[in-house]
């Protein structure tokens, strides 16, 4: 079917501000948005800049705004967007992160927030010669959070980051803290509190659920943030 991609373009070496450019494509309804972008880059305009790698929703490289919502270009089929003959699809870079070029944004603020919560197992007790035991129920508690691919969709969609507090560490950082806070093997919650228990930490979240709505991995991000708030409250009472 004939379809138009309206893509936000920005060339830092030439442009003072972003603008939109239309590309006419002939694609099947089962085609991924990424297939369209690759076609443009290969055959129509080699200057189009975007990130990609695994092309099936695992590596987290190609999160972008597609028709106004954060999605992975490789996991979004044209038919999912309700695209029909003559449709136009609007494609923009993620918000809340500095624009680099076209659909590329600087991911460093996002990763810096992630690193700030000490996203690694902290446990100085000797593990013994084999695995640490963990029950299936304990493992299940962290399952949802371990699915995160750090694509920054939630960061871009967060209304707090967009409109109120750009210093908020963001949904993914809290989620990845929760992944360890609720891990039965971890002993590091105290070390993570300075990053979490502050106005720009978990308390900036206003539970608007945008993170959960856009997560391409279907993670209940807001729930995880709220459980983290409750855990911090109960620790602070002790």
């Amino acid at each position: 079917m004939k379809i138009t991609f309206a893509i936000q373009r920005f060339d830092p070496e030439k442009d003072s501000s972003p603008h939109f450019e239309d590309f006419e494509l002939d694609l099947a309804p089962e085609a991924r948005v990424l297939d369209g972008l690759v076609h443009i880059k290969t055959y129509l305009d080699g200057t189009l800049a975007f990130r990609k790698s695994c092309a099936h929703g695992i590596c987290g490289s190609d999160a972008m705004l597609i028709d106004g919502q954060e999605r992975l270009a490789c996991k979004t089929l044209l038919r999912d967007l309700g695209a029909a003959e003559g449709s136009s699809i609007r494609i923009e870079p993620l918000k809340c992160l500095p624009l680099q070029r076209d659909l590329m944004v600087d991911q460093e603020p996002f990763f810096s927030a992630y690193r700030s919560v000490k996203p690694y197992l902290i446990n100085a007790e000797p593990a013994g010669p084999k695995e640490r035991k963990q029950s299936q129920a304990e493992r299940e508690e962290i399952d949802d959070a371990t699915k995160c691919i750090l694509c920054a969709s939630c960061y871009s969609a967060c209304p707090v980051l967009r409109d109120k507090n750009p210093a908020f560490i963001g949904p993914a950082a809290v989620l990845n803290a929760a992944r360890f806070v609720f891990d039965s093997r971890d002993r590091g919650t105290g070390e993570r509190l300075p990053a979490l228990d502050r106005p720009d930490g978990v308390w900036a979240c206003e539970s608007k659920f945008r993170c959960t709505q856009v997560c391409p991995r279907g993670i209940k991000v807001t729930k995880s943030i709220n459980l983290t708030k409750r855990r911090i409250e109960s620790l602070n009472k002790q």
Partner: protein
């Protein structure tokens, strides 16, 4: 930026990160990657990591080693396979201790499941050996190792693309890298360079591999005179989503999934009566191709792009959602089906290079021809060939390989940099890279897209699952033609910063060079063994070919030599499953 390090590791997948963790205590170590961290292809590994923990039933590293050797059709170096199987056990415990969230048994231990070619007691029956985290095992390994790198302050240079190695005779002195953000070329001096750049599946049209899998490390080494080993052995995974190539893990069959043809027959009964759908991948891919050829594919048109069905409906919704949730998600997203209700259309997809940069047991790169190893040049993971996979890799062994040998290389690098001096790098060491980039920017010819398309189609159709002499000769002629075209190819993007167009053209050159030696190596080996199947030479021929191949490029032409296979543990036997 800093341009002197004790060690530089190229690639931030499992092998690179593990090596960085081991080496970073010993000196200034940087990991450079053309991707952001955690985007590497290790993250897409699904089903599991094999280790004889014996958590559910008796198992022994010796059995794992045997399965690996037999699975590799006896082209495996058996001393390396023994190390792989032995050290896998502690490696899995170490990953768990670092926080990796493995799926658990009812008593809280690491759960294990069946996988193709992994057996009890030297081939008796499938054994539960694959330790797993749902169907996200690679994702969890990559994330856990990256998390440990954060904890240990490992330095990352994200979005730097390696363009050339700086060699001084048998010593590696550093490398030249392209910074994506600025377009600048930097010369980095380093006592040690480790290549951990992963695979090169993008030379084929239908592949499970990421766009990034363009064999950069192998191609850089090849162009600097390093030989590559066993390039003719490339694995086609039997179950890629038809038309897309997206991987459907072998764990679907480990959990009870069955392959069926258009008559609904479980056709593996004919090809592997004992292990059935859990036979090694090369046998199943060949079996599927045979079915397609007989007109038993779903379309029945006898074309190689026809497909069969992977039936997981008897697993039930609960097992599907708990054990293979991402597979269920892929099926919903890309096929609009629920695998618990409807079978999955599958066909072989280019998946894994068994060959690569030849190394010893510590990751040191061999020079070939009995000349020992290079000084300060290391490789591990898919880009390397140690060789634990021989002619065909068993499922789960890629993750074992990168953890065990990534770590071994890292430890050796730590010792090496403690005693080595930073070598002298002559001025102008970057001229090759500079000339190359300048040439691409001033090219007058076609854009690279057409060249890439021709390459991928040629390799898929003529150097694919089943190969034949005249077809491969035609493929070589085609590749020679498009290598000539490439010399005139041009970058469309005039910018310096974020020039992904330039990056893709550099990647294309790597694929062209590797495809060229792969096709030559496949034509030269006149036998069928593991993942290398010749319709004109259908039998394994130990008398002539029980040996590794080494290929160099001399003035752009391939030059072959041989390397012996370590068979110190198990004498080669006919391979029956």
């Amino acid at each position: 930026m800093q341009t002197e390090y004790d060690a530089v590791i190229v690639g931030a997948g499992g092998a690179g990160l593990y090596a960085a963790l081991e080496a970073s205590d010993a000196g200034r170590v940087a990991v450079i990657s053309k991707l952001y961290p955690v985007r590497s292809h290790t993250g897409t590994a699904q089903g599991g990591i094999g280790a004889a923990l014996g958590n559910l039933e008796e198992d022994k590293p010796e059995w794992h080693a045997f399965d690996t050797i037999k699975g590799g059709d006896y082209l495996v170096d058996q001393d390396a396979a023994a190390i792989l199987a032995d050290e896998a056990v502690q490696a899995v415990y170490d990953l768990e201790n670092m926080g990796l969230p493995f799926s658990r048994t009812p008593d809280g231990r690491i759960d294990q499941r069946r996988f193709g070619g992994h057996t009890r007691n030297f081939g008796e029956a499938p054994v539960r050996r694959a330790c797993y985290a749902a169907d996200r095992t690679g994702h969890m390994i990559l994330q856990t190792l990256y998390q440990q790198c954060i904890k240990n302050d490992v330095e990352f240079l994200a979005e730097f693309h390696a363009v050339d190695l700086i060699m001084d005779g048998p010593a590696c002195r550093g490398l030249v890298v392209l910074e994506l953000r600025t377009g600048e070329l930097h010369t980095i001096r380093s006592k040690a360079v480790m290549l951990a750049t992963g695979g090169f599946g993008r030379m084929f049209k239908t592949t499970s591999n990421a766009y990034a899998n363009t064999g950069d490390g192998l191609a850089l080494a090849l162009r600097r005179g390093v030989p590559l080993e066993d390039m003719e052995f490339y694995q086609f995974h039997p179950t890629g989503i038809a038309g897309l190539g997206i991987l459907i893990t072998e764990a679907v069959r480990g959990e009870g999934g069955i392959l069926r043809n258009r008559q609904g027959e479980r056709f593996m009964e004919e090809y592997a009566p004992k292990l059935l759908d859990l036979a090694p991948r090369d046998l199943i891919s060949k079996a599927i191709l045979s079915e397609l050829k007989r007109g038993n594919g779903m379309r029945g048109d006898r074309q190689i792009d026809d497909y069969v069905l992977l039936d997981a409906t008897k697993l039930g919704k609960e097992v599907v959602e708990e054990k293979i949730p991402d597979i269920a998600d892929f099926c919903r997203t890309y096929l609009g089906i629920d695998p618990a209700v409807q079978p999955i259309p599958v066909q072989p997809t280019a998946h894994y290079g068994m060959g690569g940069i030849p190394t010893d047991l510590h990751g040191r790169v061999h020079r070939g021809g009995g000349e020992g190893s290079y000084l300060g040049l290391y490789a591990a993971g898919e880009c390397a060939c140690v060789s634990v996979h021989g002619a065909n890799r068993l499922g789960t062994n890629s993750l074992v390989d990168l953890v065990v040998f990534g770590r071994r290389a890292g430890r050796h690098i730590a010792d090496f940099i403690a005693n080595a001096d930073l070598g002298r790098v002559a001025s102008g060491s970057d001229s090759y890279a500079r000339d190359k980039v300048a040439r691409l920017k001033s090219g007058k010819g076609a854009h690279g897209g057409k060249i890439r398309e021709t390459l991928q189609k040629t390799m898929m159709e003529q150097v694919g699952v089943i190969r034949e002499g005249s077809e491969m000769r035609a493929a070589i002629a085609t590749i020679e033609g498009i290598r000539d075209d490439y010399r005139e190819a041009r970058v469309q993007d005039p910018d310096a910063s974020f020039n992904t167009d330039l990056l893709e053209l550099l990647e294309l050159e790597n694929l062209l060079d590797l495809a060229y030696v792969t096709a030559h190596a496949a034509l030269r080996r006149e036998e069928s063994r593991g993942g290398h199947t010749r319709s004109d030479f259908p039998e394994r021929d130990d008398g002539r070919w029980l040996r590794h191949s080494l290929v160099r490029l001399a003035d752009g032409k391939p030059e072959f030599s041989d390397k012996s296979v370590d068979t110190s543990l198990f004498a080669p036997k006919p391979r029956v499953y």
